[in-house]
């Protein structure tokens, strides 16, 4: 199997981004491995619209850039990030890889309400680390004078689900009839429960790949729409 290049994110160590943007890390690389594993079926489905939700994390734009290397240029690519600096960094990653990526600064899929029913591949690496509610609320309070932007990329609140639980109820309505949703989770997020929530929206979840990295047990799940007669 040919090796797909990891997108160039060298700019993240520049002064403009360092300390403001989450660097590609074990979870990012596992995400790339999962997409690589699924490359044959991703190509075959000929996606037309692919979206990565950042929530401070896609910052690097690394995952959707990698996806575009698999799928090719006949597709529109969007990345959404709540953090303006992360959005700018994603733009630079896409520019270096020469992919046509449009970046929008916004919260989850809210800017794309006209795309309901038409997203073929939706990617999300949420802030999944379980923290106290206080720590989570602090991480999203951008008005605080010593606001730690990196914390917003990982602090997930109780069960690491605070951000994810805002997206879960609407995943199904945004996906196209043969669309899929890829999600990064750790065990503490209770992936089985996530699967049963999405099952009610006719989405079947399957683990693509998992890995133990440091103190985390990471998994990438793929959710696909069940074909209804």
């Amino acid at each position: 199997m040919d090796h797909l290049p990891t997108p160039d994110t060298g700019h993240l160590s520049s002064r403009e981004y360092e300390g403001y943007v989450y660097d590609p890390s074990e979870d990012t690389f596992l995400f790339l491995d999962a997409l690589s594993e699924d490359r044959a079926s991703l190509k075959e489905m000929q996606p037309r619209t692919c979206v990565e939700i950042g929530q401070s994390r896609c910052g690097s734009g690394c995952v959707i850039t990698f996806l575009s290397n698999i799928i090719g240029r006949h597709c529109q690519y969007y990345a959404i990030d709540i953090n303006p600096i992360a959005a700018r960094a994603a733009k630079e990653t896409a520019r270096r890889a020469n992919i046509p990526l449009d970046i929008i600064c916004g919260d989850l899929v809210s800017p794309l309400s006209r795309m309901k029913g038409s997203i073929d591949v939706l990617l999300f690496n949420p802030p999944y680390v379980p923290t106290s509610m206080e720590e989570y609320l602090e991480s999203i309070d951008t008005s605080a004078s010593e606001h730690d932007v990196i914390a917003a990329a990982w602090a997930g609140g109780p069960d690491g689900r605070c951000v994810l639980d805002r997206l879960l109820p609407i995943v199904g309505e945004y996906l196209s009839p043969n669309g899929r949703f890829y999600l990064v989770t750790v065990e503490e997020n209770r992936p089985k429960e996530i699967c049963s929530i999405l099952k009610k929206q006719n989405l079947d979840g399957q683990k693509v790949i998992d890995r133990k990295a440091r103190n985390e047990h990471l998994s990438i799940y793929r959710f696909t729409k069940r074909v209804t007669e």
């Binding site: 240029r73 529109q76 969007y78 449009d102 929008i104 809210s110 800017p111």
Partner: protein, 118 residues
């Protein structure tokens, strides 16, 4: 922001109402070289809301036909023109209904809402 993406965006302020689309576009159109992909553009055109695209192109002074040519799928000159309809780096999207402005800076649209707009 690619001007073609204007078609996908609407005002998301809570309670803005049915006239939240299409947004008006403001800024200077910048041409960016990109490889012509016929398959991509044909597919885009089969789904696009042409009157909205036409309005956006008028807003930023790009010359497009006022209605979609009947033979558009075989009209290479037209398809190339659409493909080259290009980017806004600095400017904004503007809602005619509630007057909300979504600024575009460094080619990135900012659609983050304030607490009182959610």
């Amino acid at each position: 922001m690619r001007i073609l993406s204007h078609n996908m965006l609407q005002c998301i302020v809570k309670g803005c109402g049915a006239a939240n689309y299409p947004l008006r576009l403001n800024g200077e159109a910048v041409h960016k070289e990109s490889e012509y992909n016929e398959d991509f553009i044909k597919h885009m055109m089969s789904k696009i809301d042409y009157p909205a695209l036409y309005q956006a192109s008028q807003d930023v002074k790009i010359d497009l036909p006022s209605s979609l040519p009947e033979d558009y799928l075989d009209n290479e000159e037209f398809l190339k023109k659409i493909h080259d309809v290009t980017h806004i780096e600095e400017g904004g999207l503007y809602c005619n209904n509630c007057k909300r402005i979504y600024p575009i800076k460094n080619g990135i649209v900012n659609m983050l809402l304030n607490e009182n707009e959610v």
